[in-house]
């Protein structure tokens, strides 16, 4: 990669799906089996929790899928193309 390392800086981008209000009542966990901290039965909250958990997973998996490509960096033929185009008159 050498001097093309700056391609990595896109990895540090932020994401905007995290604007969902944080759930301050319980620890940050994606695990549905995690016990409710107050010891209350989970059933009445199940639907709301499912929604949040699914949304958290959507964001997580979306980024995982996208980053799979981002982490490949700049393919050599594209780096060559840019080098060629940027050196010509």
């Amino acid at each position: 990669m050498g001097d093309w390392e700056k391609a990595d800086q896109m990895k540090n981008r932020r994401t905007n799906l995290e604007t969902v209000p944080p759930d301050t009542d319980r620890p940050d966990s994606d695990k549905p089996e995690a016990a409710h901290p107050m010891g209350r039965p989970s059933t009445p909250h199940k639907e709301a929790r499912l929604g949040r958990e699914v949304q958290a997973r959507i964001g997580q998996q979306l980024r995982a899928m996208y980053d799979e490509v981002v982490n490949q960096g700049v393919p050599p033929h594209i780096a060559d193309l840019i080098r060629r185009l940027s050196d010509q008159d």
């Binding site: 391609a7 896109m10 905007n16 499912l50 699914v54 996208y66 799979e68 193309l81 185009l85």
Partner: protein
Amino acid sequence: MKLDPAIRDQVLATVPSLRAFAISLCGNIDRADDLVQETLLRALSHIDSFEPGTNMPAWLFTILRNLFRSEYRKRRREVEDAEGRYAETLKSHPEQTGRVEFEEFRTALAKLPQDQREALILVGASGFSYEDAASICGCAVGTIKSRVNRARTRLADLLAIDSVDDFGPDRATRAVLAGGGRS
């Protein structure tokens, strides 16, 4: 006139994310790379129209999306096919999530309308602001917000069966549930 190295570096830095977005549009890595190359040719031959200091990623994404819309999307059948095959275009095994779950996610994502998937990816994966995403897609900020919300709701619906799985039923039971819900 040679390209300013700083501008060139900005272009290079955008390429990985640009490719990821292109793959999400094309559903095919080879065509996505063609689209990225076309985008770069177009962008660098019109580099004078890029205002230094403004958002390079947004500029390149806009060009790529316009190229995709004007040339690639005309081939409606191919695109539909690509959307159907989108789930198969990437091979990934993220540590935190199960492989089956991940496959199901990609299948669900492939079922979204193009506009919604595009908005969701720009905001949720590429990391653009709603304003930048709106500018890239040539629509109002409210439209982007609405598309993202609809995309998330639809995905949540499609993935809701998975959550049932989390609470107990095995895959066979889930298949019955899924089948029952559909008939």
